[in-house]
Amino acid sequence: MHLFNRLFTLFFFLLFSSGAVSAMTIVPPDIYGRVVINNYRSKGIVPVVFDHWLHRAKFTCRLCHIDIGFAMEAGGTKISAATNMKGFHCGACHNGNRVFGGRKTFGSCSDNFTQEEGARCERCHSLGKNVKKEYEFNTFSKRLPSKGLGNGIDWEEAENKGLINPVDFLEDISIKRTPLKMDKDVVIESRGTWMSDVLFSHKKHALWNGCEVCHPEIFPSTKKGTIKYSMLQIAGGEYCGVCHDKVAFPLIDCQRCHTKPVQ
Amino acid sequence: MKRTFYIALLVLVIAGVTSAQTGVKKKRPLPYEYGRVVISNYSEKAGLAPVVFDHWLHRAKFTCRLCHVDIGFAMKAGATGIKASDNMNGYYCGSCHNGKKAFDDKIVFDTCSKAPEAQTRCLRCHSLGKNVKAGYDFSKFTENLPRGRFGNGVDWEHAEVDGLIKPLDFLEGISIKRQSLTVQKDFALGTKLEGMPDIIFSHKKHTVWNGCELCHPEIFVGVKKGTTKYSMTEIFEGKYCGVCHTSVAFPLIDCQRCHTKAVQ
């Protein structure tokens, strides 16, 4: 009985801290934002490794996650070679024809390729393989302002300075709409009296995400305060944690959000 | 007592953590998957795979009213309770799928049958998890249709205005001959959130495809505008506008499609 109680307490402690532990793990800047997609590993296909940092510098979050329709969870989109070849998902740009910054984007999957072209598969299906990438993180990030954890890049500042210019429209895929004006900042009160409140900037988030990335799936309520969530849920990958811990700056950077001083 | 409490607490925590309905991004269906309905009332009992019905093809050929009012299909998967016998008697799917009716110069394939030689035909509908080649290819079919945002990626409204699709609204022997509908007025729906543009609801557009009975009174019960109060939360849950605009008509993620009236 005594042992049983102890085990229970231990279990709860582990459950609670597992969320916190994943939030506390620090990965090197060039690996931060890495997504490993292995839906078809059982079929003997090497998992895909996708590092966010390059695409993040070139496109808005909205473009990939809304217009193209990528899920926000590794493996959630169920991309297959067939869908890529049809021009969906990765194949929306990686079709051997689209041009960005004066360079033609390499084609993605194909079912009819030569031996030389076969090496192209490894450009994405690279888990565990030593593949030389076209863009190198250190070289790329050197010229960008640095800040905090995650990729160690101040993406916001980089955009303000004009060092990056994320594209928000893709020909044949995007359909532009009049943007909705949602500039008001929102104060999210923290439950702990020792913690400053969060000053959430709608303007900054809407710039890269539009409305659709967050509403209604991640934040379903339009009335502030209706949905209650805790840091435990955020650390577990819900709400703010959908982005902030995997791609956007990690949660361990507390003061990045908890900025409103306690009155 | 204490142990029961702990077990209950444990179950709740696990349930809460694993069943996150809000707070996470769901998988967005691909254009050819959007509008897919899986029906499995009696299929498994009959030793068949559940039925997979993709709305896009029928949506291009018939009005919503024809199937959901005249033929009598429910608006929720499995709610109609279609049986093979119903189909064989010429109702529901069997209203058209009887091996005799012709649309666009093609004879529509027959539905359920007890004949052994017809067994391969079952797979055309009872296709969940099976690799069945469909009669119409989505990409080819929608190639020339005007592009739309989200959903099927087709602007159905535009397609009809341009005459590229001509949805049928009358089925001989099933539909009742009616007078044409009197034009209904558009009206504005106010939003609760400050800064969010109001919605201009077009009754005209909706009645062209739905008639009156589809929405009134089952979906919209309040007679006088403003009587029924509903919020976006309920809409997202699949009520009111969400009955159609979550699964078949353009999805709710396209905010600006409805919120069009500039804030004064």
């Binding site: - | 009012v69 009598g72 016998s85 109702y91 009616r178 044409s180 009197t182 009134h216 009174p217 019960v221």
Partner: protein, 109 residues
């Protein structure tokens, strides 16, 4: 004479039964009324429910009349075979409820 009287009596009974059966659909043993009754309900259904498009222009009395006709149809539809019953009960319900809806909107104005 007796034979003639019996004959006339039988004819009279037959006429009464037939004329009565035309109105009372429930009498399944009647041979004159059955065939009509089977198609009647469909004609009535088509007649009543074809008017949903114009529900907005009817007066409250006309709407009440249409609702009453729907209510009268319901037991007839309930006697049909399983499939027809399922289909037409739903269609009748949609049609009746719409008339009621429009009636309420006119009365609340």
């Amino acid at each position: 004479m007796k034979k003639l009287r019996t004959c006339l009596l039988c004819c009279a009974v037959a006429v009464i039964v037939c004329s009565g059966a035309r109105d009372i659909e429930k009498k399944t043993f009647s041979w004159c009324g059955v065939v009509h009754a089977q198609d009647d309900w469909r004609n009535e259904f088509d007649d009543v429910c074809s008017r949903t498009q114009d529900a907005m222009i009817f007066s409250p009395d006309e709407l009440r009349n249409l609702i009453a006709r729907c209510d009268k149809l319901k037991p007839r539809v309930e006697k049909l075979d399983e499939t027809q019953r399922k289909v037409f009960l739903k269609r009748l319900q949609l049609c009746r409820d719409l008339f009621l809806f429009v009636l309420e909107s006119k009365e609340k104005k």
